[in-house]
């Protein structure tokens, strides 16, 4: 969907919400709205798209109590605000909108969580991602380094950028709105999405991208929506294998989970944000054992998280069961950069080539 189409769709669906309320009140009825229930009990696996989405449980919000009425009032103010933004072709961050709401009197937000949640509601109701509302998150996007060329629409016109030749040592920064990017061409065999900056820098410094024609993406911990959207688009547009390379602990497996399957908070956008074809590269618990990596003992919270993952449908495969049980048995975890104990080249010369060959990538 083009940028213009997306904006048009946003405008139409938001105005439809307001119109419905107008008609309800005109008919002497209390305005109300139906929203999908946003809990983990209403998350379902969609076989067709292979991602996790909201189910069909809905809850009705009727302006018959002060709390619900205030919620609808806030929604009306946000719709009015987005309408004005789209009309004037301006954009703002979620945080800016939170501050703008200071002037909305009774409709002002108490905390930023509240405004974020409301925007997510509007995304679900309109089936338009927030970029279509000209709202973007403040977290800056992660970076990309590798043999690919994109065209980006910037304030200073269209720019074509090669993500090795035209960028600095840190790579190309993914913008907030990935929809503004056009994928031109590439010369890559695969994409490695890396959790930590240290490992991302190590691979660039060791020339891994050139040697193996790899695109490196820095996830910066739990990846932002724009980063996940970028991976999704690279997978869809170029059909490149996406490999996720993280630390070897339960929290990192969740990073992989959100890249591959989506997160509860954004389950309504899973088709756009999740990359079901993404594969987990490492660091696997068996790597800790096989390479005898420096490690730490699992904490109580780690063990709890691992056990929770054993019952998580997203990790309900033989592969994950085996690895997680092994980790619980060893009671150890390691960081990506623990490979440095075997020399700075070990990860690019030994571990990754072996692992990639093993996975059938090279």
């Amino acid at each position: 969907m083009s940028k213009e189409e997306l904006e048009k769709k946003a405008m139409v669906s938001l105005l439809a919400i307001a119109s419905a309320w107008y008609d309800q009140m005109k008919a002497g009825e209390i305005p109300s709205i139906s929203l999908p229930s946003r809990t983990k009990y209403n998350i379902e696996y969609d076989d067709a798209s292979e991602v996790w989405k909201y189910g069909d449980k809905e809850s009705m919000r009727t302006a018959a109590s002060a709390k619900s009425a205030t919620h609808l009032l806030k929604m009306a103010y946000v719709i009015g605000f987005i309408k004005q933004q789209l009309r004037e072709n301006r954009s703002s961050t979620l945080r800016e909108m939170y501050y703008i709401s200071e002037g909305w009197k009774r409709a002002k937000f108490g905390a930023q969580d509240e405004s974020n949640f409301l925007i997510e509601d509007l995304e679900i109701l309109s089936d338009v991602p927030r970029e279509g509302f000209h709202l973007h998150p403040e977290e800056n996007g992660a970076s990309i380094y590798g043999p690919m060329r994109i065209r980006e629409e910037t304030r200073r016109g269209m720019k074509t950028i090669h993500c090795q030749d035209d960028v600095g040592q840190a790579g190309y920064t993914i913008p907030n709105n990935v929809e503004n990017i056009e994928f031109v061409d590439h010369d890559a065999k695969f994409v490695i999405a890396i959790e930590t900056g240290g490992m991302y820098d190590r691979l660039i410094e060791n020339g891994f991208d050139e040697e193996h024609n790899a695109i490196l993406v820095h996830l910066k911990g739990q990846p932002a929506r724009s980063t996940r959207r970028m991976l999704n688009r690279m997978s869809m547009t170029w059909d490149l294998p996406i490999l996720v390379f993280t630390d070897g602990d339960p929290w990192s497996y969740r990073i992989y989970g959100s890249v591959a399957y989506g997160a509860i908070k954004s389950a309504h956008m899973s088709e756009l944000l999740a990359t079901p074809k993404a594969q987990f590269l490492g660091l696997r618990p068996s790597d800790i054992r096989d390479y005898n990596l420096p490690s730490d003992k699992l904490t109580e919270k780690d063990v709890e998280a691992l056990k929770a993952e054993l019952t998580d449908p997203r990790f309900a495969t033989d592969y994950w069961k085996k690895e997680i049980n092994l980790q619980l048995e060893m009671n150890l975890k390691s960081e990506q950069q623990a490979f440095a104990a075997r020399g700075l080249d070990f990860v690019t010369k030994k571990y990754l080539p072996a692992r990639l060959a093993d996975m059938g990538i090279i």
Binding site: A66, L73, R106
Partner: protein, 606 residues
């Protein structure tokens, strides 16, 4: 060990053994009487002096006016003065009251009093003497015709006898009363507790006025009742409540025959009962009671326990505060949304009459979080320490407060105040410091019953309040927020504003009064969906004088800058009435002449 050695040792030991005086004993066991720390000493001293003053005023049937002063006189020296308008003490008695431990007028009396053993104030005198070395100064006057006397007193520790350092007749502006001045080493670390003590004392003595001078601060706890409380009348001991020691003293002091001794010396014992007791003890009723042997005494005492005797009379010897006065006392010191009080019928444990009173307060200025505020009282004296060891606390924890919609974690929590007062001729304290009441099944039962009764009453209040809250919440949504949604939505869809009053009418079926302020104009609008068409009046109380009101108010009055404007009108069904005037709004709007359930007032500016 050979036998002779025993003898020698016993001899040696006997030389070292000597009787220790009560005063000496106290010096080594201060904690038993509430003087375990310097901070606590201040509270105990004031408590003992105030107890005495209140008891004295009660006996003399005067409304207590008590002045309390605490002043720092040295780096760690504090001077405490307690002055009352009681009957005063005759000069001859003063040295004994203040200068001899265990000298009391009420020790052998069976009625409800605050002080009992006569330890309290003399213990404070001793404590002062031990820490500061200063004598206690007492001024007392018994009437207009008598002169006031000023004493400087200490206690002879070895003999527990008063030591009068100075005694002079002086001029004193009070006609009758007593003033005690005690100076000892202490700190004011417990200032908060002290103020709490005074506040609580004032709650259960609503007939008393306390004026307090704390360093440079002065404040007053006013009386809310002008009624002098009835002084409890002493009764004879009950045969089921007597112990061997007391029995022996009574027997030794009597020259009556056994039957007469029983009938006259004990309550609820008639000739028939007395005869039954004698028969059971296998004693002749004509024996002189003073001539009984120790074994005979024991047999008689046992027989007295076995024979059924009606419970002792309870009303004359006890002095409950009363539900109304407890409510007024609490109202005065704690501003709360709800207060209820119960005075249980009197009852008896081990032959001692007792009575339980309780009260529950909710909301208002009570702290919303944390454990309930607990006020424990025994014979109108607040119990300030050892809350955890007290049976009152135990009983409060044993009540299931959740069933009255109060959260509970052991103790009930939230904006709740619980007061329990146990009045008895013999309050069973856990120790001599009189901080906690011992666990006695009869007393516990009464406390729990009183609390459950009050809990039910509180629950009714809470659910009524919640219902009102829900209705108010709905009214707010419909009358204040939906019009705003309407305004915003109409602006977004670029259509003429929707009138939301049909929604109000449909939902509320009430007379809806709204008040709002825009651009310096106050508007009051009444929309009648109630079906009621009689005359009603709108009372609008605020700082605005509404001189330019259209329509003009039917009546305006002013008190302290607050104007009460009244409009009278009849509003036909499904139509509106409106008034506008210049002003800042705020204040209170009330509609009268229509049933509460048929009206709803909404302030749109809130």
């Amino acid at each position: 060990m050979p036998g002779w050695l025993h003898l020698v040792l016993a001899d040696e030991l006997a030389k070292q053994q000597r009787s220790i005086s009560v005063a000496e004993f106290f010096e080594k066991n201060k904690h038993l009487l509430g003087f375990d720390s310097p901070t606590r000493g201040v509270i105990t001293t004031i408590k003992e002096a105030v107890d005495n003053s209140l008891d004295a005023c009660e006996e003399a049937q005067v409304l207590p006016d008590i002045f309390i002063s605490i002043k720092k006189t040295g780096s760690d020296l504090f001077r405490i003065i307690v002055e009352d308008n009681g009957p005063g003490i005759v000069p001859k008695q003063i040295p004994f009251v203040f200068g001899k431990l265990l000298y009391g007028s009420r020790f052998h009396q069976i009625r409800q009093t605050r002080g009992q053993q006569g330890i309290g104030i003399s213990a404070a005198v001793l404590y002062a003497q031990l820490t500061s070395g200063l004598p206690t100064i007492v001024i007392s006057r018994t009437g207009a015709k008598e002169q006031a006397h000023r004493f400087e007193i200490q206690i002879k520790i070895e003999t527990n006898e008063p030591d009068v350092l100075k005694n002079e007749a002086i001029e004193w502006d009070r006609i009758h009363g007593t003033r005690v001045q005690i100076e000892f080493k202490s700190t004011m670390a417990a200032k908060k507790k002290l103020i709490e003590y005074l506040k609580y004392t004032s709650v259960v003595n609503p007939h008393a006025r306390f004026r307090v001078e704390l360093d440079d601060e002065t404040f007053t706890f006013e009386r809310v009742s002008q009624e002098v409380i009835r002084c409890p009348v002493a009764i004879q001991p009950h045969p089921h409540g007597i112990e061997l020691g007391q029995f022996k003293r009574m027997a030794a002091a009597s020259d009556a025959k056994l039957i007469d001794f029983l009938v006259e010396g004990f309550s609820r014992v008639g000739k028939k009962t007395a005869q039954e007791m004698c028969d059971r003890a296998r004693l002749k009723g004509t024996l002189k009671v003073s001539g009984l042997s120790a074994d005979q005494q024991k047999a008689l005492l046992a027989a007295m326990q076995e024979v059924a005797v009606p419970a002792p009379p309870t009303t004359q010897c006890l002095s409950p505060i009363g539900e109304e006065l407890i409510r007024r006392g609490l109202d005065k010191e704690f501003q709360m949304d709800f207060v209820a009080a119960r005075t249980r019928p009197s009852s008896v444990f081990s032959g001692h009459p007792f009575m339980v009173e309780a009260a529950i307060g909710y909301g208002g200025k009570l702290p919303a979080e944390g454990n309930a505020v607990i006020l424990r009282f025994a014979n109108r004296v607040p119990l300030m320490y050892q809350q955890g060891a007290c049976t009152i606390t135990e009983c409060i924890m044993n009540v299931n407060w959740r069933s009255y919609n109060i959260s509970q974690q052991g103790l009930p929590a939230g904006p709740v105040l619980i007061l329990v007062h146990v009045a008895s001729t013999n309050v069973p304290f856990t120790s001599e410091s009189k901080d906690a009441i011992a666990s006695i099944p009869e007393i516990e039962k009464e406390i729990v019953l009183a609390l459950q009764d009050l809990g039910r009453e509180l629950k009714t209040f809470l659910s009524r309040r919640d219902r009102n809250k829900l209705a108010e919440d709905r009214a707010r949504a419909v009358c204040a927020i939906i019009p705003e949604i309407s305004a915003k939505v109409s602006e977004i869809v670029e259509k003429p504003p929707v009138d939301t009053s049909p929604i109000e009418g449909k939902l509320m079926r009430k007379l809806i009064a709204k008040k709002w302020t825009r651009d310096g104009k106050v508007t009051i609008e009444l929309a009648n969906y109630s079906g009621f068409e009689g005359e009603i009046s709108a009372y609008d109380i605020s700082a605005d004088n509404a001189a330019d009101a259209v329509p003009k108010a039917d009546f305006v009055s002013e008190v302290d800058g607050q104007f009460t404007k009244v409009w009278k009108m009849t509003i036909p069904s499904k139509s509106n009435w409106q008034v506008t005037y210049s002003g800042k709004g705020g204040g209170i709007l009330d509609i009268r002449g229509i049933d509460d359930s048929k009206k709803m007032v909404v302030d749109l500016d809130v």
